[in-house]
C-alpha cells in the first residue's frame, strides 16, 4: 500500500489496522437484538470500510446506540454475526471479547473517565494492563496522544479539574492509546455545554482526516453532513435509509426520514 493512499501510515499517532484500505473493517450481518420481548434491532446488515466515517442518526429509541454498543460487546445480541478488523464477536469467550475490544475504541456520552486516576493514568491504565506496554513507552505514547487532543499540559490533572470538553478529549486519547482500528462515538457531545462542543468535534474531525474509521451516533447534523462519508438513518430497529450526506440531508426519499429531518428544524 502506498503512503499517499493511507494517511494513517504516515501519521505516527495512529496505528494502522490489519484490514486493508477499502476493505470492510466492521461487518455486521443479520444482527438481531432484543431486550426481553422488545426487539430493538430487527436485522441489521452493515459493512463499514476502513477509513470510512459513518454517522448514525435517528430518533431516540430507534436502536442506534444499541447498535453501537453491540459492536464492542457491551450489549449481547441474539442473532447474526459481527466481526471487527477480522476478530469475530463471541460473547461466551472472555478472551475473544478482550481481543475484539482491543480493536474497537468507544467514547461515551458521559465521558466515563476514571475519577480516581490522573489524566495521564487514565490514558495509560489499559495499555499497561492489557497490552503490557513498557512504562516509559506507555508514558511517551500517553503524552503524545494528549498532545494530539490538545491537552499535553493536563497530564497530571485530575478529571474533575477539567471541563466537560477537556474530559471528553481525554476520553478520546484514552481510547486511542489502545490503538483501535475503529472508534465508536456514542453521542459524545450530548452532555456538553454548547460552547464546548466545537473543541471535541474538531478532534474527531482531525481523526477522520488522519484516516481513522469512525462510527458515530450523533445529533450534530451539521457535523455529520460535513465529516461523514455515509449517513445511516435508523428507524424502528432497522437501517431505514442510508447514503452520502448530501442525498440523506438534501434529498431524503422516505417519509420517515423527511419527518425526522423536519422535526430537527422545529
Amino acid at each position: 500500500m502506498s503512503a499517499g493512499a493511507d494517511p494513517s501510515a504516515t501519521n505516527p499517532v495512529l496505528v494502522p489496522p490489519h484490514t486493508e484500505v477499502g476493505a470492510p473493517i466492521v461487518r455486521i450481518t443479520a444482527l438481531r437484538k432484543s431486550f426481553g420481548d422488545n426487539e430493538v434491532l430487527k436485522g441489521i446488515d452493515l459493512d463499514v470500510m476502513r477509513g470510512e466515517v459513518v454517522a448514525v442518526i435517528g430518533k431516540s429509541g430507534s436502536g442506534k446506540s444499541t447498535l453501537l454498543r453491540c459492536i464492542n460487546g457491551l450489549e449481547a445480541f441474539q442473532e447474526g454475526s459481527l466481526t471487527v478488523d477480522g476478530k469475530p464477536l463471541l460473547h461466551e469467550s472472555a478472551q475473544a471479547m478482550r481481543e475484539l475490544r482491543q480493536r474497537v475504541g468507544m467514547i461515551f456520552q458521559s465521558f466515563n473517565l476514571f475519577p480516581h486516576l490522573s489524566v495521564g493514568r487514565n490514558v495509560m491504565l489499559a495499555p499497561r494492563l492489557v497490552k503490557k506496554r513498557r512504562p516509559d513507552e506507555n508514558e511517551a505514547r500517553a503524552r503524545q496522544l494528549l498532545d494530539r487532543v490538545g491537552l499535553a499540559e493536563k497530564f497530571d490533572a485530575m478529571p474533575d479539574q477539567l471541563s466537560g470538553g477537556q474530559q471528553q478529549r481525554v476520553a478520546i486519547a484514552r481510547a486511542l492509546a489502545m490503538d483501535p482500528a475503529v472508534l465508536l462515538c456514542d453521542e459524545i457531545t450530548s452532555a456538553l455545554d454548547p460552547e464546548l462542543v466545537g473543541e471535541v468535534l474538531r478532534v474527531v474531525e482531525s481523526l477522520a482526516e488522519d484516516g481513522m474509521t469512525l462510527l458515530m451516533v450523533t445529533h450534530e447534523m451539521g457535523f455529520a453532513r460535513k465529516v461523514a462519508d455515509r449517513v445511516i438513518f435508523m428507524h424502528q430497529g432497522r437501517v431505514h435509509e442510508s447514503g452520502p450526506p448530501d442525498s440523506i440531508f438534501g434529498a431524503p426519499r422516505t417519509p420517515e426520514l423527511k419527518q425526522f429531518l423536519s422535526s430537527l428544524h422545529e
Partner: protein, 217 residues
C-alpha cells in the same frame, strides 16, 4: 472479707478489655476477608452464588447475634468437634461481620456508576482488572465511613460472647461485680471502657466522611 479498691476493679477490667479488643480485631479482619471474597463471588454475576450469598446475608441479619453464638457453640459440639468459647465466639463474630460487611460493600460497589464498568470493559480490561483498578478503588472511598461505623457495632457485639463463657470485658465485669457487691460501680466502669473504645472510632468515621465528601462530588 477482702476489700477491693477502685484501681483493683479497673485494672482487672482493663486486662479483660484486651480480649474485647482482640476479639473485635479478629472478627473485623476475618469478617472483612470473608466478606470481600463473598463480594467478589457475588459480582461475578453467577446466579447461584448470588442467591446463596443473599440467603447467607439474610440469615445473619435476620437472627440475633446471641442466637448465632449459642447455635455455633452448642451446634459445633453436636458434631463431636471440641469447641472452646474462644473458638465459637471468633467463628460466630467472623460470620456475623462478613455478612454485614459484604452487604455494606455491595451497596458501595453498586454506587459506582455503570459507565465505569462499561468504559473499563471497552478498554479490554478483564473482570479482575476492572475490579482491582477501576471499581474497587472508587467503592473503597464510599465504603470507608460505613465500614468504620460497623466496627463500632462489632466492638459492642463482642459483649455477647460473655454468654457462652468467654471472658472479655462484660464477662469480667459480671464476675467482679459478684465478688465486690458493687454492680453499679463495676458496670459503670465497663460501660465507660466500651465508650472509650467506641467513641474514638465513631469520631474517626465522622471525620473520614467529611474528608471524603470534600474530595468528591
Amino acid at each position: 472479707m477482702v476489700e477491693f479498691t477502685l484501681w483493683d476493679i479497673l485494672r482487672n477490667l482493663l486486662l479483660a478489655a484486651r480480649w474485647t479488643v482482640v476479639l473485635s480485631l479478629i472478627a473485623f479482619a476475618g469478617g472483612g476477608a470473608v466478606g470481600l471474597v463473598l463480594l467478589v463471588l457475588r459480582l461475578t454475576g453467577n446466579r447461584v452464588a448470588d442467591a446463596a450469598i443473599g440467603a447467607y446475608v439474610q440469615l445473619f441479619q435476620g437472627t440475633p447475634l446471641l442466637m448465632q453464638l449459642f447455635l455455633l457453640y452448642f451446634g459445633i459440639a453436636l458434631f463431636g468437634v471440641e469447641t472452646s468459647p474462644w473458638m465459637a465466639a471468633c467463628v460466630a463474630l467472623i460470620l456475623y461481620a462478613s455478612a454485614y460487611l459484604t452487604e455494606i460493600w455491595r451497596g458501595c460497589v453498586a454506587a459506582v456508576p455503570r459507565g465505569q464498568w462499561e468504559a473499563s470493559a471497552s478498554l479490554a480490561l478483564g473482570f479482575g482488572q476492572q475490579l482491582a483498578h477501576v471499581v474497587l478503588p472508587q467503592a473503597l472511598r464510599i465504603a470507608v465511613p460505613p465500614t468504620v461505623g460497623f466496627l463500632v457495632q462489632v466492638v459492642k457485639g463482642t459483649a455477647l460472647a460473655s454468654v457462652i463463657g468467654f471472658v472479655e470485658l462484660t464477662k469480667a465485669g459480671g464476675m467482679i461485680a459478684n465478688v465486690t457487691y458493687e454492680p453499679l460501680l463495676v458496670y459503670g466502669c465497663v460501660a465507660l471502657i466500651y465508650f472509650a473504645l467506641c467513641f474514638p472510632i465513631s469520631l474517626y468515621a465522622g471525620s473520614l466522611e467529611r474528608k471524603l465528601h470534600v474530595g468528591r462530588r
